[in-house]
C-alpha cells in the first residue's frame, strides 16, 4: 500500500551527522558514546581508596578526549553499572586519566576488585569546571576535606603547569584519621612548587602523626588572605562547606569567587534522568562546580 507517510528521519538531524568518534556500531548513539578503556595501573592509597589510571584504547579517541579541571566522567563497568567520578589528573596528560575511587557501593566495590588490564567504559567529560583561567593574577586557596582532594588534584596540576599566571597558592587539606590522608606521597613534590603553601591537619591523631591536629578551619589561623584578590576552591563533605565558606565570607572573599564541587547521585550525566537536580539546576549540566553565591540561593544544595 502506498501512503505518503512522511516520517522524520532522525539520522538527518545535524547532531547525528558528526563523525562517530566513539566505539559504538552506529551513529545513533552520539549522545550515549562511551570510550572503550583499559585500566593500566592501580595505586592503593588507603584501605578504602584506590587511584586508577585509565587509558582510552583507541588512539584517535584518546587524542581527542579533553577536559577541564573539575569535570567528571561516567565510569562504566559492563554488567555492573555506572558511576560518576571526578577526574583527578592533569589536563595535559593525554596518555591516561586518573580516577580516585572510594569503595562505597556495588559498582565501586566491583571496581576495587579489578586488576590492571580490565576493560571499562568512559563517558564524558561532563559538567562545569573550575574557572582556572579567570583566576589568573590572583591568590588561589584550595581547600579539601577527605576525598575532596581528588577533584582538586586537577586544578593543582593546572596551576603547577601555569605557575607564572598565579600569585600565592595555598592548599589546605584535612582528613579524619592519619591513615585516611590521600596522596601524601605527593606532598613533598607539591611543597617544592614555587610559592605554594601546603597545610595538612587531621581530626584524630594517632601515635605516628606528627602534624597538626584539629579541624580544617583551624588552618585559617596560619594563613593570611587578601580578600580582594583571592579565589577559593572548596571540596569536601557537605558539613565542611558550611563552615569553610562561612569563614571565607567573614574574611571578605566575595561569594562568587568561592567555588565548590557538589556531589549528587547521577545516572545519565545529560540532565535527563532528573535525580541530580538542585532547585531548577542539574548538577550534571550546571554543576558539579558551582560558585558559592549560586549555592546559597539553591536550597538543599549542601
Amino acid at each position: 500500500m502506498s501512503t505518503k507517510i512522511i516520517q522524520h528521519d532522525i539520522n538527518l538531524e545535524p547532531f547525528m551527522s558528526k563523525s562517530p568518534d566513539f566505539n559504538r556500531k552506529s551513529i545513533l548513539m552520539q549522545t550515549e558514546r562511551s570510550f572503550k578503556s583499559e585500566i593500566i595501573n592501580i595505586i592503593t592509597l588507603t584501605a578504602l581508596e584506590k587511584l586508577f589510571h585509565i587509558r582510552i584504547s583507541d588512539h584517535f579517541e584518546r587524542e581527542n578526549f579533553s577536559f577541564l579541571p573539575g569535570q567528571f566522567v561516567m565510569l562504566h563497568l559492563p554488567g555492573c553499572g555506572e558511576v560518576p567520578i571526578s577526574i583527578s589528573s592533569s589536563v595535559s596528560n593525554k596518555e591516561y586519566i586518573e580516577l580516585c575511587i572510594r569503595k562505597v557501593g556495588k559498582v565501586t566495590g566491583m571496581i576495587h576488585r579489578l586488576e590492571p588490564g580490565a576493560i571499562v567504559g568512559i563517558r564524558g567529560p561532563f559538567g562545569t569546571h573550575f574557572p582556572v583561567q579567570k583566576m589568573t593574577g590572583c591568590d588561589v586557596l584550595l581547600i579539601a576535606g577527605g576525598l575532596g582532594i581528588a577533584p582538586l588534584r586537577s586544578p593543582i596540576y593546572w596551576i603547577n603547569e601555569h605557575r607564572s599566571k598565579y600569585r600565592d597558592i595555598s592548599i589546605m587539606y584535612g582528613a579524619r584519621d592519619p591513615d585516611q590522608v590521600l596522596f601524601d606521597y605527593q606532598f613533598e613534590e607539591w611543597k617544592k612548587i614555587y610559592g605554594l603553601k601546603l597545610l595538612t591537619i587531621v581530626q584524630n591523631a594517632g601515635k605516628n602523626w606528627k602534624g597538626r591536629v584539629g579541624l580544617i578551619t583551624d588552618l585559617f589561623k596560619e594563613i593570611t588572605i587578601d580578600p580582594e584578590n583571592t579565589f577559593a576552591i572548596v571540596c569536601g563533605p557537605p558539613v565542611m562547606f558550611k563552615f569553610v565558606c562561612a569563614h571565607l565570607s567573614d574574611v571578605g572573599i566575595p561569594r562568587h569567587r568561592m567555588f565548590v564541587s557538589l556531589e549528587r547521585r547521577m545516572h545519565c550525566g545529560m540532565g535527563k534522568c532528573c535525580r541530580c537536580n538542585v532547585g531548577s539546576t542539574f548538577t550534571c549540566l550546571d554543576g558539579p562546580i558551582f560558585d558559592y553565591w549560586t549555592v546559597m540561593n539553591l536550597k538543599e544544595a549542601i
Binding site: 507517510i5 559492563p78 545519565c268 538543599e300
Partner: protein, 347 residues
C-alpha cells in the same frame, strides 16, 4: 483547517486499513480499567472511555526500555562494548488519546530534546508517532486542564482531533501527519460547513463542565527560597506515604533510573521509570541523602512541577491538569490545593 466526517460504520474498516501502515495503539478495557495497548487484528479502541488509569506516556517512553546491549564473553571479538539494539521505530498511531495527555508530551519534550543532548530513544519514538486525539465531551470533577494550560479540545501536541458527535466523528486535521493518517484510512468525506461551528459549541459545553481550577499566575514571580521554606509543606505532606503512585500515573513525569542487567555472558543496559518519592532516588554512596525525609521528597515533586519547571522554561507549569494524581492518591493529596497554596503564598 479541513474537517473530515467519519461515519462510525466506516470506523472499523478504516482502522483495519490503517493497521497495514501503522502500529495502532488505543484504549482497551482490561480488568475493568482502561489501558493503552497495541490493537490486535480486529480489535477496536474503546472510545467510550473517560481516561486511562495509567497515562499513555509508555507508548513513547516505556516503563522499562532496553537502551544498549553487550557481551561479556571475552572470546567474542567485541566483548564489553555497548551496542545499539534493534528497536521498532516504525510508524505508529495512538487513537483516542485525550488532548491533555497529548499536550503532556510537549512538556516532556523540553527535557528529552535539548540543544546539548538529544535523547535518541525518546525522540525517535515521538517522531514515529501520530497522535489522534479524542476530544473530551465529559470531563470529570478532578479535571482542571483549562487552568493548567491545556483543555478538553486542546489541539497542540495532536496531529488529528476526533470529536464524537454520536453516529459519526468529526476529524479536524491539525498537521500533515494527521492528513496522511486519514488518507491511509481512506476517510475522505469532507464535513459540511456547520462542522466548525458545531465543534465550537461542543467545546464550550465541555469547558463549562470543568468546575475546578488552579491559579498559577503568581508562581513565576515568587522567590524560590521563600516557597521552599514555606510553613505549609509540613502540613500538606503529612499524609503522604511516598508511594510514588502520582509519579507513575503522571503523563508529565519523566525521571528514570539506569540499570545494567546480566544474564550469563550477555547483558543489557536498561532504563526504568523512577520516582522522586523514593529515598533511594537521591541516596549518595556515602550514605548522605540530600532529600532524606518524606516532606523533602514531597516538596521536591511539587516544587519541580510548579516552580523549577516554570523558572527553567518560562512557559507554564509541568502539569496538564489530567487529575490522575488527585484521583489515585491513597492519601487524598490534591495538586490543586498545593498549587493554590503555593500561588497564594507570601513570605
Amino acid at each position: 483547517m479541513k474537517i473530515i466526517r467519519i461515519n462510525k460504520e466506516n470506523w472499523a474498516d478504516g482502522l483495519e486499513k490503517l493497521k497495514r501502515s501503522y502500529r495502532l495503539f488505543g484504549p482497551v478495557k482490561d480488568n475493568n480499567l482502561h489501558v493503552f495497548k497495541e490493537l490486535d487484528k480486529g480489535e477496536l479502541p474503546d472510545c467510550s472511555y473517560f481516561n486511562t488509569r495509567l497515562s499513555p506516556k509508555s507508548i513513547i517512553y516505556p516503563q522499562s526500555e532496553i537502551m544498549l546491549e553487550y557481551e561479556l564473553d571475552e572470546s567474542k571479538e567485541d566483548h564489553h562494548i555497548l551496542k545499539e539494539i534493534d528497536t521498532d521505530y516504525s510508524p505508529r498511531a495512538v487513537i483516542g488519546i485525550r488532548p491533555c495527555d497529548a499536550a503532556a508530551f510537549l512538556l516532556v519534550k523540553r527535557n528529552f530534546d535539548t540543544p546539548e543532548y538529544k535523547d535518541p530513544y525518546w525522540i525517535k519514538s515521538y517522531e514515529a508517532t501520530t497522535f489522534v486525539g479524542l476530544a473530551c465531551n465529559n470531563p470529570q470533577t478532578t479535571c482542571f486542564c483549562t487552568s493548567a494550560g491545556s483543555g478538553p479540545f486542546y489541539e497542540k501536541g495532536l496531529d488529528l482531533l476526533l470529536v464524537d458527535i454520536g453516529d459519526y466523528y468529526f476529524a479536524k486535521i491539525i498537521t500533515l501527519k494527521g492528513e496522511n493518517f486519514l488518507e491511509a484510512a481512506g476517510w475522505d468525506t469532507e464535513a459540511d460547513g456547520n462542522a466548525e461551528e458545531q465543534i465550537k459549541t461542543m467545546k464550550q459545553k465541555a469547558e463549562a463542565k470543568i468546575i475546578s481550577s488552579i491559579a498559577t499566575d503568581k508562581l513565576k514571580d515568587k522567590t524560590t527560597t521563600d516557597l521552599f521554606d514555606a510553613p505549609f509543606w509540613e502540613e500538606v505532606a503529612f499524609a503522604c506515604i511516598n508511594c510514588g503512585a502520582c509519579t507513575y500515573v503522571c503523563p508529565t513525569c519523566w525521571c528514570f533510573d539506569i540499570q545494567d542487567e546480566v544474564n550469563g555472558y550477555s547483558g543489557i543496559r536498561m532504563r526504568n521509570w523512577d520516582s522522586c518519592m523514593f529515598p533511594l532516588f537521591t541516596l549518595h554512596g556515602s550514605g548522605h541523602n540530600p532529600r532524606s525525609t518524606n516532606m523533602q521528597r514531597f516538596r521536591q515533586r511539587f516544587m519541580h512541577k510548579l516552580k523549577y519547571y516554570v523558572d527553567k522554561y518560562n512557559d507554564g507549569i509541568q502539569c496538564v491538569g489530567c487529575g490522575r494524581c488527585t484521583r489515585l492518591c491513597p492519601a487524598n493529596i490534591d495538586i490543586r490545593k498545593v498549587c493554590n497554596l503555593m500561588n497564594g503564598y507570601s513570605a
